[in-house]
């Protein structure tokens, strides 16, 4: 389909004052935006703060979004501009702090930022990846094919139905069942 009905509906709700709908948009696009910012800013600890700024800016400007483009295109443009502005302002700024020679070795730089890439988060992310791939390996072939054709190859339900030679209803059922099985493995990690 590719029309992003979900995004359009959520944006409409946010524009009408439903803040909870914006929470869903953040959850949907947080990792994509962080990855995008990471292409501009090498310091991973700063990426999440810049991504947060980008989301806040997009929330404040969401009434100017008229649906001429896809929401994620608009959001990515804001994120890219936020990252570029951050780099430009950092280049203009002097450090603005003094560091004692004795403390320099332990000084963490200008980021009084939360350290996101801490060992705990790194471990959690590795566990999530391992769990998902392990769960996929254990899936029956029909479910595995359906979920990989959808998620990796990005095929539509209609295309998957042609490839797998089955009705569309079966495709949607297989994709859901595959997600459900993987989710059962994933859930304990994220609770």
């Amino acid at each position: 389909m590719g029309t992003n009905l979900l995004d359009a509906e959520l944006v409409k709700r946010v524009q009408n004052g439903d803040t909870a709908a914006f929470d869903l948009l953040v959850q949907k696009y947080q990792h994509k935006v962080i990855n995008l910012v990471g292409r501009f800013v090498s310091d991973k600890s700063e990426c999440q703060d810049i991504a947060q700024d980008a989301f806040i800016k997009s929330f404040r400007a969401i009434n100017s979004f008229r649906g001429d483009s896809q929401f994620y295109t608009w959001l990515y443009r804001i994120a890219a501009n936020t990252a570029k502005n951050y780099l430009a302002s950092r280049a203009r700024k002097s450090p603005g702090y003094t560091v004692d020679v004795d403390d320099a070795e332990h000084f963490e730089g200008e980021s009084g930022l939360k350290e996101y890439a801490n060992p705990e988060n790194l471990l959690l992310t590795d566990e999530i990846k391992a769990t998902v791939f392990s769960a996929i390996e254990k899936l029956p072939d029909d479910l595995k094919s359906a979920i990989t054709l959808r998620e990796i190859d990005g095929l539509s339900y209609e295309e998957i139905a042609q490839v797998m030679n089955c009705p569309i209803g079966t495709v949607r059922s297989r994709i859901f069942r595959a997600r459900d099985v993987i989710d059962k493995e994933l859930r304990p990690l994220l609770e």
Partner: protein
């Protein structure tokens, strides 16, 4: 519940049916459904190798907390120069559009009326002068006729284009006809009509 989970799966793939509103209402009201939706989303990100090297499960909480905090601080300071943090509903920003349209239409009408009045004023004085000139001529003619046997003031009426004589007098009628031929171009009742046509018209009415 399984049915709702399957609808979530469809929603993520943009295969939502007509009850997308009902599903979203349930999702926004139920944290567990939100978590499930996020895990479904995450499964796809892992498969596509789009997951960052370190994820922060509180990321969206922090974003929403900052948004609420900034909304509260901007509400308390209430500075007009500051941009409003919370997006105002579209209806609030567009309510004035019909009024703006009416205001523009009213302005155009006002300008039209203002232009029309000077135009009328341009034409009316001339007509008035010509009418006064006619009246003066008539009065002069009346005075000239006072010497004759007929009382002009009681016999001559200036209504319309015809001279009406109570008692027919060829001499007086001849004078009046001559007067009309000589002064017909000053008449204000049929502007633009050539004098010959006016004379012909007068003769036709005799």
């Amino acid at each position: 519940m399984k049915e709702l989970d399957e609808k979530l799966s469809l929603l993520l793939d943009d295969y939502a049916d007509e009850d997308i509103d009902a599903v979203l209402d349930e999702v926004t009201a139920d944290v567990n459904l939100q978590y499930r939706m996020r895990r479904y989303q995450m499964i796809g990100e892992v498969i596509r190798h789009e997951l960052p090297e370190a994820i922060d499960t509180d990321f969206h909480h922090e974003v929403m907390t900052k948004i609420r905090d900034q909304a509260q601080s901007s509400a308390t300071t209430a500075t007009e120069s500051a941009a409003p943090l919370a997006p105002t509903p579209l209806t609030a920003r567009t309510w004035f559009r019909p009024f703006a349209g009416v205001a523009v239409a009213a302005s155009v009408a006002l300008v039209t009326i203002a232009m029309w009045q000077p135009l009328q004023q341009d034409t009316d004085p001339l007509d008035g002068e010509l009418a006064n000139a006619d009246q003066q001529k008539i009065q002069q003619l009346g005075q000239q006729l006072q010497g004759s046997a007929v009382q002009a003031s009681s016999r001559v009426q200036s209504g319309g284009m015809r001279w009406k004589l109570k008692n027919e007098s060829p001499v007086l009628q001849q004078k009046l006809n001559a007067y009309l031929v000589n002064h017909t171009e000053y008449s204000n009742s049929m502007q633009g009509l050539i004098p010959q046509a006016r004379v012909a018209g007068f003769d036709a009415q005799q």
